[in-house]
């Protein structure tokens, strides 16, 4: 991969909750238009790393990071960089479906409305497009004003993806976004992700190794805050014994 294909560059990144270090000196490049998965057992630092990419960890007090994360060559920690802009560029889907207590339409329109003034038509268009991209349009087109809470779990999670897509992001983060869903909903989401990577860079914490194998272009194995290894053939030719053990289910 050539250098200008790099979307995100993580450089010597360490992360602390108070005194406790949860990510150790991590270096990794994430390419444009790929699905990059971070997997590993709990407490591996995956969620923390994903929440660093959009600086969402700043909501927690008593946290500290070292090193740098560059998106398109620019540091996200630059004091002049706008954090709200960053979060629009790097959209996040959470582990559990998190519709806000609003209508389906208003959930998807939430992000665009925060932004600069947009006309009603523009909002309508962005919302419709986002819901279609998330493969949810057929399910909800006739009841956009219904409460988002009335949707099923899988639909709610696709709604959350649509909500992120409505931001017109460049990177989409999914933090174990399918862990509470049935296999059919999971398959639908994975299918949309494979389509979406043509336009976006997707960073995902899969909820198990099988999902990581199914959808990732490259994957990174994290253990106790360390990046053990990363690569495209990590599942077929793991370099590290620990990776092999985890993939084959000997621990974890």
């Amino acid at each position: 991969m050539s250098e200008n294909n790099i979307k995100i560059e993580i450089k010597n990144f360490s992360f602390y909750y108070g005194q406790k270090q949860v990510i150790h000196d991590l270096n990794l490049k994430i390419h444009k238009n790929e699905i990059m998965s971070f997997f590993g057992p709990a407490n591996g630092g995956v969620t923390t790393l994903l929440r660093s990419l959009n600086r969402l960890f700043e909501l927690n007090h008593n946290t500290r990071s070292e090193g740098d994360i560059l998106i398109d060559g620019e540091s996200i920690f630059d004091p002049d960089a706008s954090v709200t802009e960053l979060r629009r560029k790097v959209g996040m889907v959470f582990e559990i479906p998190t519709p806000l207590p609003l209508s389906i339409f208003d959930n998807v329109a939430y992000g665009p409305r925060l932004n600069k003034k947009k006309s009603k038509d523009e909002i309508n268009e962005v919302v419709e497009q986002a819901i279609k991209q998330a493969a949810l349009w057929d399910d909800v087109s006739d009841r956009l004003r219904a409460p988002a809470m009335s949707l099923s779990g899988g639909q709610q999670q696709r709604l959350c993806i649509a909500r992120v897509l409505a931001l017109k992001p460049e990177v989409i983060i999914l933090d174990r976004a399918c862990s509470g869903l049935d296999p059919i909903s999971t398959a639908k989401i994975e299918e949309s992700l494979t389509k979406l990577k043509k336009q976006f860079t997707i960073v995902i914490a899969p909820h198990n190794v099988q999902q990581a194998m199914r959808i990732s272009d490259r994957a990174a194995f994290m253990l106790m805050g360390y990046l053990v290894e990363a690569g495209a053939d990590i599942f077929t030719h793991p370099q590290d014994q620990r990776t092999d053990d985890y993939i084959t289910g000997r621990f974890g």
């Binding site: 959009n54 007090h61 709200t84 979060r87 959209g91 806000l100 207590p101 939430y110 992000g111 925060l114």
Partner: protein, 280 residues
């Protein structure tokens, strides 16, 4: 000797006790309300509501006291609600636990436990005398605002804290600023609890006597401005009953008080439910 009760017996006893407690409370409440309404409702008619009291309240209606009650309550609510909700958001959203939040919370909790007559005394010394407002709706409203502020702060803070943290994370992750997150997500989710606190406070304002006598006086004529003294319905009731002026009119006033508080509850809840169902 150990008294052995088997599980089924203890289940019966517990059920009986809990049921009995709930029933006795309900019977007492219903009895009070029915008694007041039976005594008071026959007194209430159109002219009772629309004419001013005269002859110390022995004759005439209670129009001026209704107006006085509304004025004082509105003044208190208008002043206390923005400050109370503002403080609650400060405590819940803008600070971490530290010495200042602990002082604010401790003060609010202490203030909530102070007898209302102390507020009356404070209002009398500070607003009526020192600030030179005299016995007036303004002085009474301000005093009641202080009295209900702790309630509003506490109920609002609890309501704000009860909003799931993930809603905030979602709003921030979609590029929302703190203020946008509060206005568009936290506040709509907390509004029911906040409004409950306000209703409770309205009830306390309407029912207050001691603090009002000290600060707004007990003049019977129709108030013309915020600087006039007035007599609220609760004070009117207190004076009519305690001085034996007219028990009939006292019961009429009491019945109307109950009806008004009931109506406020119903109306405000209906408004909030409409707002919530719109935003959901």
């Amino acid at each position: 000797m150990k008294l052995k009760i088997n599980a089924r017996t203890s289940e019966y006893i517990a059920k009986g006790f809990i049921w009995g407690a709930a029933m006795s409370v309900m019977i007492v409440l219903v009895a009070i309300i029915v008694y007041i309404l039976v005594k008071g409702l026959p007194v209430i008619n159109f002219s009772f509501l629309t004419t001013n009291p005269y002859n110390m309240g022995r004759s005439g209606g209670i129009a001026s006291t209704i107006v006085g009650t509304i004025y004082i309550t509105v003044v208190a609510i208008i002043i206390a609600v923005p400050f109370g909700i503002g403080t609650a958001f400060y405590l819940a959203e803008y600070t971490q636990e530290n010495i200042i939040t602990r002082i604010i919370r401790f003060s609010a909790e202490s203030l909530a436990g102070i007898p209302s007559i102390i507020y009356g005394l404070f209002g009398y010394i500070f607003f009526v005398m020192y600030m030179g407002m005299g016995w007036s709706i303004l002085a009474g409203g301000l005093t009641l605002a202080f009295m209900i502020l702790p309630t509003i702060i506490r109920t609002s803070e609890e309501a704000i804290r009860a909003v799931p943290h993930i809603y905030r994370e979602v709003s921030f992750s979609l590029g929302g600023t703190k203020w946008q997150t509060i206005i568009k997500t936290v506040f709509p989710s907390a509004i029911q609890g906040i409004v409950n606190g306000i209703i409770l406070s309205i009830g306390r304002c309407i029912a207050e006597t001691a603090a009002v006598i000290f600060t707004a006086g007990s003049v019977l004529s129709m108030p013309g401005s915020l600087f006039d003294s007035t007599r609220t319905m609760a004070v009117h009731f207190y004076i009519l009953a305690s001085e034996g002026i007219s028990m009939d009119n006292a019961y009429g006033t009491a019945a109307l008080l109950i009806i008004i508080i009931f109506l406020i509850n119903v109306i405000v809840n209906a408004l909030v439910n409409r707002f919530i169902s719109k935003s959901k």
